[in-house]
């Protein structure tokens, strides 16, 4: 029997813009299983990024339940959510979130440094991930010296270094040409196969959905299944 990785139950989120209140997520319900690659497609402003941030524990829902790998995020304080982001869920933002002053190695090492992993283990683990992602020889470069595809790979490597159960990628191919986009999507499939990671990708590009196991569509804050619900 497959394990549930993420469970969203009646999730609502709104933002205040002056006197106006905009409902970004409306009654979102979903179950994502362990080892699935899920694509969430929708136009800009439909609530895709907000949904990812709620799963990552970067934002809290107004109401509803968010359970990630058995942890109810509503019940966790800021320290608890930090632990979840450090060890269970990894989030790759659209702009990659790399620190330009640090080298590729130091950027990838950061989550392990935060986790308090000792130096020799950090060195070993980062070297393994660099080899797996295919960034050999780029360890000492600053992100500014890398191409868009390589920067995306560094962000994926940083997300992968703690071996998370859930990987969240916000528009991972938005800044790439089609050839690099295919490479990144193939890499996600390899990660799923090798580590049984649940990968949730949000995108506005429908071509990306060819590479996922399940696709859902998001429109004006509501989430709908596009592929058959085979997990039932």
């Amino acid at each position: 029997m497959r394990e549930v990785a993420v469970l969203l139950r009646d999730v609502w989120k709104s933002y205040k813009f002056g006197v106006d209140v905009v409902n970004v997520l409306k009654n979102v319900n979903a179950i994502f299983m362990r080892g699935e690659v899920i694509g969430i497609h929708g136009p800009s402003g439909s609530g895709k990024t907000t949904l990812l941030k709620i799963i990552a524990g970067l934002e809290r829902p107004d109401r509803g339940e968010v359970i990630v790998c058995g942890y109810n995020l509503n019940l966790l304080d800021e320290v608890g959510l930090s632990m979840i982001r450090n060890s269970i869920v990894s989030y790759i933002p659209q702009d990659y979130g790399l620190i330009e002053s640090l080298t590729v190695f130091e950027n990838i090492e950061l989550p392990l440094l935060i986790a308090g992993v000792d130096k020799s283990s950090r060195l070993r683990r980062v070297s393994e991930v660099i080899k797996y992602i295919g960034l050999n020889g780029k360890e000492d470069l600053r992100p500014t010296r890398l191409s868009g595809g390589e920067r995306q790979r560094v962000a994926i490597a940083r997300a992968l270094v703690t071996t998370p159960s859930v990987l969240l990628a916000d528009e991972p191919t938005a800044n790439l040409d089609w050839n690099n986009a295919i490479k990144v999507m193939e890499l996600f499939k390899d990660i799923k196969k090798d580590f049984n990671t649940t990968i949730i990708i949000v995108t506005h590009d429908p071509r990306i959905l060819e590479f996922v196991d399940r696709s859902l569509t998001m429109f004006e804050g509501t989430l709908k299944e596009v592929t058959p619900k085979y997990y039932k």
């Binding site: 979130g97 640090l102 308090g116």
Partner: protein
């Protein structure tokens, strides 16, 4: 753990940023006055310049500090790691900018600068952190 992640990252960021060079250069130039000119009015001027110097040092690297806060948050840094980062950055900048005033051996000047520089640098960094936390 907190010192390793917050403190060491702060030192790496500072040593590779623009701010530390600005502050070292200005502080070195300012050393001339307390060493060769003994004038109480200049001490007050030094205090003002020292505060401005610390302010510029933080602002010169504010984009890096912002992206670091954002990345720290994504990577699961606890609030205490952010605090360590802010304290380390603020302390290093305050200490270097304080050197010309320490030479004066002016108790009032030293304490005023210490208070002002620490307040200015840590408040700026803390506001930056809150902004990143709110909008990320």
């Amino acid at each position: 753990m907190d010192f390793k992640s917050g403190g060491l990252t702060a030192i790496k960021i500072l040593s590779r940023g623009k701010g530390i060079y600005i502050i070292i250069t200005t502080s070195s130039l300012l050393l001339y006055y307390p060493l060769f000119v003994r004038n109480s009015r200049i001490t007050y001027l030094l205090v003002v310049i020292s505060v401005l110097n610390a302010l510029v040092a933080v602002l010169a690297d504010i984009d890096t500090h912002n992206s670091l806060f954002y990345t720290f948050r994504i990577c699961g840094a606890t609030p205490s790691i952010f605090t360590t980062y802010i304290i380390t950055t603020s302390s290093v900048i305050t200490f270097i900018s304080l050197i010309p005033i320490l030479i004066c051996v002016d108790v009032f000047g030293v304490f005023t600068s210490l208070l002002m520089n620490t307040s200015v640098t840590s408040s700026l960094l803390y506001m930056s952190y809150i902004k990143v936390k709110k909008y990320s």
